[in-house]
Symmetry: C2
Subunit: 285 residues, 2 copies
């Protein structure tokens, strides 16, 4: 990508712009300092100084952190940062969007499709989940089609890892696959999901992501399916969980929002940020 | 987001990092210069100077362009740029990945699921399509589930617009919907697709995105469905088209790759960049 061209010396101000855009575009990827040095026509020591500036500027607003590893195999890696403050602000913004009575659909549903498919919103939510799950060093993000895909994709992008998507039906274009049946908590119907054998190596560390959790039937189904791949599940994240039932079929999941229901008479939709965002007593701002 | 805090003066080097990351994270969105001035505790005139530097540094490697509009309603907008050179390099990289005989699946299929769900690859491909379609000023990107979603989402993100996803079945959680049947070119089966009434306002300018096109049956089905929304289709993009049949059911589409088939005897998968990337005669490197 960088080879073959005559590189003119870049000034520091330009280098800062170049390095910043490159890091932001390649979250979770380790980049050798020589790559930058070659691209910008300066010594590695200058790049090190640039990186220190980038790191401190991004750190000032909690916009992520820059890790540098020394040595020949070393490099620099950027992780998007979304602190608790930012996560909370985004959760409240989403609550306001979601709790609009015009979203109410007879049967007690909320129309959230525009939110779960929003690239701009899911990019931000994905960064929040990525920041929470990154210390557990997952190898893959896994979801099941369809509405969880945007959030799962953006989370995987922020983590710098691949996304694996289980399908509802086995597809001939995917070769041999493992299929299983489970009861969905929201529809109480028997459903199937299927994952191509070659989609995931044995023993991978995975994070499960979905848009919505009622009883957790889909997440448990996915857990069981992944058991067939000897995967180690290091995290489960959902954009929104339902307050009822409070006991889910899976444990240790993280949600951003809680949907408490719709009061049809008062025309009121009740959505709030999850407890971890507002403190133990559910208070806070 | 920026309000309420005491802002200390930021130095230019730090401002360049902050502004660059913000623009890259908000492609296609117009940002008022006052937003930056308030966040960084400096005058708007300093921000203007910073933006000129960011613009010229990004321009040096064709990494996108920064548009500034003057006046009270004015602001700055960043568009990711992927020139022909970069598009070509990425297409060749994808050809190499795709043309691996281990991807061959009996029946003449190629396993491409890991590619179409790759956040890192689809982010790059999305930028290429966004750069081509942006001058036509689309309001929405539209796709149909499932494998086109990552590319469609990333294209929409680079364009700064929403994604609308047609479903294979009508979902009760989406309210009233328009459904239609069509014959898929690849399976020659009757399929249905459905789009919620509220998903798209009448008369919107849309770009259709998908992962794969054989005869174009799905794209034509989507065109017809969107006719019910009086949408104006300003572009059609697919990651990969099949060389056969050469006559598609839709016109004026743009693909990145052409799948020419698998020679089972010679164990050879033939995938090449599309003509527009390699010159009129299909040559070039």
């Amino acid at each position: 990508m960088f080879g073959g061209e005559m590189v003119k010396h870049w000034r520091r101000q330009e280098r800062l712009v170049y390095i910043t855009q490159y890091l932001i575009q390649h979250p979770g990827e380790t980049i050798n300092l020589n790559t930058f040095a070659a691209a910008l026509g300066v010594a590695k020591s200058s790049i090190s100084e640039d990186l220190a500036l980038v790191k401190s500027a991004l750190g000032r607003k909690g916009l992520g952190w820059v890790e540098t590893e020394l040595g020949a195999a070393g490099g620099v890696c950027y992780w998007p940062g979304r602190g608790l403050e930012e996560a909370r602000a985004l959760a409240w913004e989403l609550c306001e969007k979601a709790a609009d009575i015009r979203r109410f659909i007879p049967g007690g549903f909320l129309y959230l499709t525009d939110i779960v498919f929003s690239p701009q919103l899911m990019a931000q939510v994905g960064e929040i989940f990525a920041a929470r799950f990154q210390p557990r060093r997952p190898d893959y993000v896994v979801t099941v089609e369809t509405k969880g895909i945007p959030l799962a994709l953006m989370t995987a992008r922020s983590l710098g890892i691949p996304l694996v998507t289980a399908r509802r039906e086995h597809k001939v274009t995917e070769g041999s696959a493992v299929s299983m049946s489970y009861v969905s908590g929201s529809s109480q119907r028997l459903q199937t999901m299927s994952l191509a054998r070659r989609a995931l190596p044995a023993g991978a560390k995975v994070v499960l992501m979905d848009d919505f959790m009622k009883a957790g039937g889909t997440a448990r189904g996915l857990q069981e399916l992944l058991g067939e791949f000897k995967a180690q599940i290091v995290g489960i994240g959902v954009l929104m969980e339902m307050a009822e039932p409070p006991q889910k079929l899976v444990q240790d999941y993280l949600s951003l929002l809680v949907f408490e229901g719709v009061d049809e008479k008062r025309r009121e939709v009740r959505v709030r940020p999850s407890d971890w965002l507002v403190g133990e007593k559910g208070g806070g701002s």
